[in-house]
């Protein structure tokens, strides 16, 4: 442990002394011990928090939440909640044990009691309370952290479970890491070399690029250069989630595309990359192959929506489902937030999903809730995060494909993938017609 002392404000000291109640004291004590761990000189104010501790996993996390709530804890900044571990409306349609549902519900209640907003989503940056450029925030959930830092330019460290709620209660965090501008410079340069524009414009490019980014960057800040296409919000979302799964990416820069990287020089704050790694079609193909662990064409389930599906993604999905039916032996699931699902319902898209034979899960996802019955062994997804975690967490095999691949596979009852975009060699960017599904 460092011996440096952390400069505390009068309020900080009062909180530590118990003047704001026992919960604030416990939260402040944990924040201070972490500040000492980091060798922080001082604490700084946050103006927003996002809580990942809301995921129920077992007795200890529930005990922690209920102890804080029982001690009268209240968040002191606007605070959103990440996914819970139960979809209270739909869990009975799945294999969720009733005891689990009960405990997950208790954990939800504890966090709501502390004054957190019941957003229940891993994509809070698409729902409400969206932070602004330069804003100091304390966010949990790796994909949300990556998005907030990289795409919005808000400033958050990687707040792990248990610390995020302490920050929200204390309203203070150690002044370290990505909160400080000097720690936000790029470290490793990933330069796109001869990647066809048509591929860059395809949704399935971004989870693959993100997966590779996480592997290359590990715990460093990557800078992507040479990207010609302008990524959409959902493409950035998929990329960050992938990089925060295969690596520890909490901040990435894309030259000319993200707010702290108007130029290559700006992305590195005038410094030099410690490493330069070319991104070629070959390295991307390898990364894409790694996202698939399944062998063969058998398929039990298609799952979309990690991070949670947005309204835009629902709108992309809807036309693919028209007059089609999911194969009787395949389940088709979209995971999303209550807010986005409500918008999708208003747009008539939930009806289309239902007519197709698909399911919707809100507030949680297949990784956070034990939904899947044991006979589901072979999954398919367009999410690199699902692809990364499902094999270990759910003991399943998984195939990664585009949104269209996923829908086509669900209809046919076996894995089908359009490889045309990934087999291209040309640098000139073939026309979009080459991306059409040949099936």
């Amino acid at each position: 442990m460092t011996t440096a002392t952390v400069q505390l404000s009068k309020h900080d000291r009062e909180k530590l002394a118990g003047g704001y109640g026992p919960a604030a004291k416990m939260a402040m004590s944990i924040i201070l011990r972490m500040a000492e761990f980091h060798g922080a000189k001082e604490l700084l104010d946050i103006t927003q928090a996002h809580i990942d501790s809301s995921i129920y996993m077992g007795e200890a996390g529930l005990e922690f939440a209920e102890r804080l709530a029982g001690l009268g804890a209240k968040v002191t900044v606007p605070t959103t909640l990440n996914v819970s571990s139960v979809d209270e409306h739909h869990w009975r349609e799945w294999a969720v044990p009733p005891d689990w549902a009960k405990n997950a519900h208790r954990q939800m209640v504890a966090y709501e009691k502390m004054g957190c907003r019941p957003t229940w989503t891993c994509a809070p940056y698409q729902v409400n309370l969206i932070p602004k450029f330069g804003q100091q925030i304390a966010w949990g959930e790796s994909n949300a952290i990556a998005f907030a830092n990289s795409v919005i330019g808000a400033r958050t460290e990687r707040y792990p479970d248990l610390l995020d709620i302490c920050a929200a209660i204390a309203g203070r965090v150690p002044a370290v890491g990505l909160h400080l501008i000097e720690n936000r410079a790029g470290q490793v340069l990933m330069n796109l070399v001869d990647i066809p524009l048509a591929l860059q414009q395809d949704d399935s490019f971004y989870p693959v690029l993100g997966h590779l980014m996480g592997q290359v960057a590990r715990d460093r800040i990557p800078v992507i250069s040479g990207l010609q296409a302008q990524p959409t919000e959902d493409q950035f979302k998929a990329m960050g989630a992938a990089g925060a799964s295969s690596g520890t990416v909490a901040l990435f820069h894309v030259v000319e595309k993200t707010p702290e990287a108007p130029t290559l020089e700006a992305a590195f704050q005038g410094g030099q990359p410690e490493e330069t790694v070319p991104v070629t079609m070959e390295t991307l193909r390898v990364a894409r192959r790694e996202l698939t662990t399944a062998t063969g064409k058998k398929l039990d389930m298609v799952v979309l929506g990690s991070p949670h599906f947005s309204l835009t993604e629902f709108k992309q999905l809807a036309p693919l489902l028209v007059s089609k039916q999911v194969h009787p032996e395949v389940k088709f699931l979209v995971t999303s937030s209550r807010a986005m699902t409500l918008l999708a319902q208003k747009a008539g898209i939930l009806e289309s999903l239902k007519a197709f034979g698909g399911h919707i899960t809100v507030d949680t996802c297949i990784l956070a809730s034990p939904m899947l019955p044991p006979e589901i062994k072979r999954l398919m997804t367009n999410s690199a995060k699902y692809a990364y975690y499902a094999p270990g967490l759910l003991n399943t095999q998984i195939t990664f494909g585009s949104l269209t691949d996923c829908v086509q596979s669900a209809i046919k009852g076996r894995v089908v993938r359009d490889e045309s975009l990934w087999e291209q060699q040309a640098t000139m960017g073939k026309s979009d017609s080459s991306a059409q599904n040949p099936l």
Binding site: M1, D52, G58, E63, R158, D161, A244, S245, T248, Y389
Partner: protein, 138 residues
């Protein structure tokens, strides 16, 4: 003859156990089954290994911010590693250890070794960790 490695104690504590070592960072969420103390990330070189009661040596945590909560569950369930060795101070391990201290008075000892010393660790070695960060290797 035992040899000694001199590490920096991040959360000081005594521990002894067989080493479980990898150069690959590990996410506990999706990587560690707290009910059994087994490493379950199928992409990780330590997949299938029992880590409960052993001294786990990984360079740092990777990926999900849920790692801390999984480690706290493991402490409560009695399936946590006896201690953890890393190549740099890891804030996720530190937090889990601090909260385990606050909740159960059971902090997980954490020691940082230089990369050179870390490279001397091998799975199966009998390790004895002292409060000052010294690790006896047998």
């Amino acid at each position: 003859m035992p040899k000694y490695l001199h590490g920096r104690p991040i959360i000081p504590g005594q521990a002894s156990g067989k080493a479980l070592v990898s150069n690959e960072p590990l996410s506990f969420w999706g990587g560690y089954d707290y009910q059994t103390g087994t490493i379950i990330d199928q992409r990780h070189p330590l997949a299938g290994q029992q880590a409960a009661g052993r001294i786990l040596a990984v360079p740092f945590t990777r990926g999900s911010s849920t790692t801390t909560a999984v480690l706290l569950e493991a402490v409560k369930a009695g399936t946590a590693p006896a201690a953890i060795v890393t190549t740099a101070p890891d804030s996720f391990f530190a937090l889990a250890s601090i909260v385990a201290d606050e909740m159960y008075a059971k902090p997980i000892p954490l020691v940082v070794l230089s990369s050179q010393d870390f490279a001397l660790l091998q799975t199966g070695q009998a390790l004895n960790m002292q409060e000052d960060g010294r690790i006896e290797v047998n």
